[in-house]
């Protein structure tokens, strides 16, 4: 016969085993339950972008569709591309939607951003007053047109804000070896819409993106004069800011880039206000390389 004391202790030890087992099972369940589910993007996404996609209304067509699919709230900050890139560099934005390929590559090379994808393109147009004092109408060579404007000292309004459009304008001046800055050349320091309005009032030439120009075509009496030059191709890309920077919402940025490359977003871009103007404001470009876009653009320009 087993002494009662031992019985109790045996029972106790069984109890301990049971408790330990139960605890282990509970712990395992807990760990399983807490194991991170595939992380879902959420929170705010600060999207540093350019005035052209805001002034034309494209952002308002894209953002609600994106927000309907994910638990992310987009905060678009429309500034010049120069300022947008700086916001990214400082980690004050999560994603970019901009149009300055050279500056974007520099940003990627410096490690501030990556995951760069071409999403849309349209073109820049040299527009000006109907009187066309520099006689550039019908041309397809941006460099020649700029040379003629400088030679006749016809009034020219520049953005002057380090935006993508301004960067392109400066590149063309640099190509023709002219340093504009005399009395015929003025900087507005404002967005594309405001600059077109100023150029209209001052009967001046201006380099503009196609989208903003079409969106404002009812309000300004400027006409497209030079178009179709490959140097006037306008490439829009999305990028995500390096998650190494403090507070960057990388998951939301990835979701945004995936969305912009999706068929749904590409269709929105391609059809945006197309019926209204009888021609597209933006062309879809997801999955294309820059060289392919240049080819397409040249073909479209040749078709007129």
């Amino acid at each position: 016969m087993i002494p009662p004391v031992m019985l109790i202790s045996a029972y106790r030890s069984r109890l301990w085993v049971r408790l330990t087992l139960a605890g282990l099972v509970a712990l395992t369940l807990l760990v399983l339950a807490c194991r991170p589910a595939p992380p879902a993007p959420r929170g705010d996404l600060i999207l540093a972008t350019t005035t052209s996609v805001q002034d034309s209304g494209l952002l308002e067509a894209l953002i609600p569709v994106f927000e309907a699919g994910v638990d992310v709230n987009v905060k678009p900050i429309a500034v010049g591309t120069g300022a947008a890139l700086r916001l990214a560099e400082e980690g004050n934005a999560d994603a970019l939607f901009v149009h300055a390929p050279d500056a974007e590559r520099a940003l990627v090379d410096a490690g501030h951003a990556y995951n760069r994808h071409l999403v849309a393109y349209n073109d820049f147009v040299i527009v000006g007053p109907r009187t066309d004092p520099a006689n550039i109408a019908g041309g397809t060579d941006a460099a020649m047109a700029f040379t003629a404007i400088a030679a006749t000292e016809a009034r020219f309004i520049s953005r002057g804000d380090d935006s993508g459009t301004h960067k392109r304008e400066r590149a063309i001046w640099a190509e023709v070896g002219i340093v504009p800055g005399d009395s015929w050349y003025a900087e507005s320091g404002q967005g594309m819409g405001a600059t077109l309005i100023i150029a209209d009032q001052k009967l001046a030439y201006v380099l503009t993106d196609r989208g903003t120009f079409l969106a404002l075509s009812d309000d300004v009496d400027l006409i497209p004069l030079v178009e179709g030059d490959p140097a006037l191709l306008n490439l829009y890309s999305v990028l995500q800011v390096s998650p190494a920077k403090l507070g960057v919402n990388a998951l939301a940025a990835v979701a945004w880039i995936e969305f912009m490359l999706s068929e749904e977003a590409q269709a929105i871009i391609n059809d945006f206000r197309r019926d209204e103007f009888g021609r597209p404001l933006f062309h879809a470009a997801a999955g294309l390389q820059e060289a392919e876009v240049i080819e397409r653009f040249a073909a479209q320009a040749a078709d007129g």
Binding site: D55, K75, I77, N92, G191, I197, A215, D219, V248
Partner: protein, 231 residues
């Protein structure tokens, strides 16, 4: 001139239709600017009273600083507040940038020197003998402050109106720290800038008219309070 007329008509259309977006922007503008003004009043009036009544070394340079602040450009305030609130800034962790709170903070910084400066001048104009008498009669601090507010009523309401007028009409700080985000930080002034750059001048004029009407109605209330004959 047709454009101006169209704009005014558009303003009435938007009001009558009860355009949801315009109403939302108007209410946000009112809420943000009122909050900024109230906070600047709560903090600014006591500081103004202290500067008016106390004598201490360094008072004059301090008053000169306040008076300089009364003319501070909103964009400069916006830039400094943005640098503070950006993620890269010292208060970046609070996540306030591009929220209405950021606009309230910037507008507070714009309004508070106005409130201090004007209340200082109003309180300094009170006859010091009156205050001495009250102290002699055994008034406590609270009673004294209440007397000051009563006596300087006209000037303090002027401070309130100047502060509110400055913040509801500024655009530079709001656009910089708020980002002009639709449905979140868009206020009447920043919406006007956007609609102008989009070439939608009628809507821009309509927003401008609404801003004027709003400012007038608010000031009408304050002015009635200010000009009421004391009982």
């Amino acid at each position: 001139m047709d454009l101006l007329w169209d704009g005014i008509k558009e303003a009435f259309n938007l009001w009558i239709r009860g355009d949801a977006e315009i109403i939302e922007i108007t209410l946000r503008t009112l809420a943000v600017s009122s909050l900024a003004t109230v906070v600047s009043l709560v903090l600014g009036v006591p500081i103004g009273a202290a500067l008016a009544l106390k004598r201490f070394p360094g008072r004059r340079p301090l008053v000169a600083l306040v008076n300089t602040g009364m003319g501070m450009p909103p964009v400069v305030v916006g830039l400094f507040v943005a640098i503070m609130l950006w993620r890269s800034g010292p208060f970046g962790g609070l996540g306030l940038i591009y929220t209405p709170w950021a606009i309230v903070i910037a507008q507070f910084v714009i309004a508070v020197p106005l409130v201090i400066g004007i209340s200082l001048a109003a309180i300094q104009a009170i006859d010091p003998k009156l205050l001495d008498q009250m102290i002699a009669l055994g008034a406590n601090r609270l009673q004294l402050l209440w007397l000051i507010v009563r006596e300087a009523r006209l000037g303090l309401l002027a401070a309130l109106m100047a502060g509110f007028g400055a913040v509801i009409s500024e655009v530079g700080a709001s656009i910089m720290v708020g980002g002009n985000i639709a449905g979140e930080t868009r206020v009447l002034t920043t919406a006007t800038v956007l609609e102008t750059s989009r070439g939608r001048f009628e809507v821009a004029i309509a927003l401008g008219v609404m801003l004027l009407v709003l400012a007038y109605l608010v000031n009408l209330v304050f002015t009635s309070a200010q000009q009421r004959r004391p009982a």
